[in-house]
């Protein structure tokens, strides 16, 4: 493990604070064409996956839009940080979002 990787591996994805009354759901629940704001990445998910999702642009506080689903409902294409990325349901479930403010 290189020094840089070790250093980066110690990162923890800090969640984004939201007012208590905001409804929080997961990315997997987003309807087509809707946008939401990322609140956090589930602590129960594998930490390496959390960090990878962060590096892919799923940073708390960022806006994300659900674009479309594949024919058998999985995977789903999202628009985030200026590009489009497909995620499977099992990854999308790990990302908590709140309705766009």
């Amino acid at each position: 493990m290189s020094m840089v990787s070790a250093h980066l591996g110690r990162r923890v994805v800090q969640p984004h604070a939201v007012p208590d009354d905001t409804a929080v759901s997961t990315l997997a629940d987003l309807r087509r064409g809707t946008t939401a704001r990322i609140v956090g990445i589930c602590e129960t998910a594998d930490p390496a996956t959390c960090r990878r999702l962060f590096d892919l642009g799923f940073a708390p506080g960022t806006e994300v839009e659900m674009l479309r689903r594949a024919p058998m409902a999985d995977p789903v294409v999202f628009r985030i940080a200026g590009y489009e990325i497909a995620l499977r349901r099992e990854q999308a479930c790990c990302i908590r979002v709140s309705a766009d403010q």
Binding site: H16, A17, V18, G61
Partner: protein, 196 residues
């Protein structure tokens, strides 16, 4: 802005001064320019322990110089955290010489000394501040630029973009040429809207 979000800053080098860096912050975070009398404790600690030699506020940055013998590669991360903490409390910053108008004036001077000014000078022209009225700026264009048909739109627009980045509330930038041809030419103070 969410309560727990950090103030976005990044560091830029200062020509000719290795111990100093301009820490760029969102324009308008602080409402004064120049030397400071007091800063929030997070940053004051670094002044008190001898890390920071000098602090000066610019329209969209804080210029910080380290004391002799200190290096940015050692102090940078710590200083960034302290600065972000301090900037989150704008009220904790007290100017040595509080004067709100000065922000716009300093911003204009910064643009004149910066890239846009360089561009004008490279074409044989010169630009100076003529007057400030509230949020309106009047410039004096002289030299080759006064006869150039592009002077009006291009230069003034570029100047205004650069100025707005440092001082968002600016309302209008006009340029007067020294030959006085047709008086000053006015421009719309609004930047063209982008199609969304």
């Amino acid at each position: 802005m969410q309560p727990d979000a950090l103030v976005p800053v990044h560091a830029e080098a200062v020509d000719g001064d290795e111990r100093a860096l301009r820490w760029v912050m969102p324009a308008g975070t602080l409402d004064f320019v120049g030397a400071v009398r007091r800063v929030p404790v997070a940053l004051q600690v670094l002044v008190d322990d001898g890390t920071v030699e000098d602090l000066a506020v610019e329209p969209a940055a804080v210029r910080i110089r380290l004391s002799p013998g200190r290096r940015w590669q050692d102090e940078g991360a710590r200083l960034r955290t302290a600065l972000q903490g301090a900037l989150a409390i704008p009220d904790g910053w007290v100017a040595a010489d509080p004067s709100a108008d000065r922000v716009l004036a300093v911003a204009v001077q910064q643009v004149i000394d910066g890239d846009v000014g360089d561009y004008i000078r490279s074409h044989g022209g010169a630009v100076a501040l003529r007057a400030i009225e509230g949020e309106r700026v009047e410039l004096e264009l002289s030299g080759a630029c006064s006869h150039c048909p592009a002077a009006d739109l291009t230069l003034t627009q570029r100047f205004e973009v650069a100025l707005r980045a440092l001082y968002p509330p600016v309302r209008e930038v006009t340029a007067r040429t020294d030959s006085g041809l047709a008086g000053g030419r006015r421009l719309l103070g609004l930047s063209p809207s982008r199609r969304r």
